[in-house]
Amino acid sequence: MSTETSTTITTRINGREQSLRVDNADLLLDVLRDMGLRGAKASCEMEVCGACTVQLDGLPVSACTTLAVELDGRSVETIEHLDAGGEMHPVQEAFLRHSALQCGFCTPGMVMSVKALLEVDPDPSREDVVHWLEGSICRCTGYATIIDAALDAAEAMRGV
């Protein structure tokens, strides 16, 4: 029986395969931020606000309440990867077009959450977007432009 309190994992972080050793008690958010990936923020730290949202195998999760060891054999994407090819992602472009940010604190989580939605549902209704973003909190209360941006990004990605 194992007595180790750390684990070697193989994972893909923002497209790069890597092996790393993590403490079992490490949270995904801390590991990412220690790597310099600081778009995901610690905010509520109880899965309520969405500021730490990253995509784990495509689905949005709260990095603040996910063990880093859960990356083993899986793939994680953070906001930093979206313009890795030199161009912004269509969701980022739509946020800019709609000025869908004020202070910007929630924006990385909002963008990752919207991107995750459009990957599973390329043609969401306004109601679908609102439902998906329940639990993604913008304290500047800029929800209308965020929803507009999500719908606009969906159209752009479908090539409408």
């Binding site: 029986m1 079992n24 008690a25 309520v48 999760v61 309440t65 993604s136």
Partner: protein, 286 residues
Amino acid sequence: MIGSDFVLHRPDALEDAVRLRAELGEDAVLYAGGTELLLVLKLGVIDVEHLIDLKRCGLGGIERTADAVRIGSTTTHREIERDPVVAAHVPALSALARNVANVRVRSAGTLGGNLAFAEPHADPPALLAALDARVELAGPAGRRSLTIEEFLLDAFETALEPDEIMTAVTIPLAEDGVRATYRKIAILERPTVGVAVAGRLEGGRFAAAPAVVVGAVDERPIRVEAGMLAGASPDDEDAVAALAAAARDAVDPVDDLSGSADYKRHLTEVLTRRTVRELARSEGAA
């Protein structure tokens, strides 16, 4: 961060998980989605020496058996929300799963974890109780199954023995004409009050007393005696008002962050009335 170091076990078969649990006893805590457990670990409410991750034991997935829909204990809320078998046979559960907490919690959190953690402010117990669902447990001595009400003993307390693991939740296939629905009012992310109603309508009237269960108000789901609805239409205002009053009187709320006791009693009455009315408009099978 989590304050205490722990050993992580990731068994890839149920028998190995059961053996580990028997060996480690109360030093070990079961872990699946982590959406509840990691919160208390981060807060330092509990310390854990060993975590047994159940996600590799083949306990996920949903199937239709001869007489039930069987949902593996590590199936996530999102998988339930999107599952065609659940949609066909238990649409009220699809709708419930779609509205658990938020999409991040639904992506990681599991039905088994939700029940085993036994946080009273949870959605599934009321509906599962109304549908006569059962919880399947496996241990060194074999398997057994309990009703939801036998399983949930108190706040954060279940009938799961220290050497047992929950393997699945089974929901019996409903008879023709049975409808079920669940509604909640949530002040925060968790339900303040949730009401489930399941019953068979014949010619627009309840063929017998429906099952009515109020969740999230007390430590355990509360079953409300609904005999006044036998033979009544869901639009029968007097019968529905009598049921709503009975529900209000059946609960025993406490003041907490989700509302005062009086407020929760009031919500229970209003929500019970609305849930019965909605049942009349809901579609087909449970």
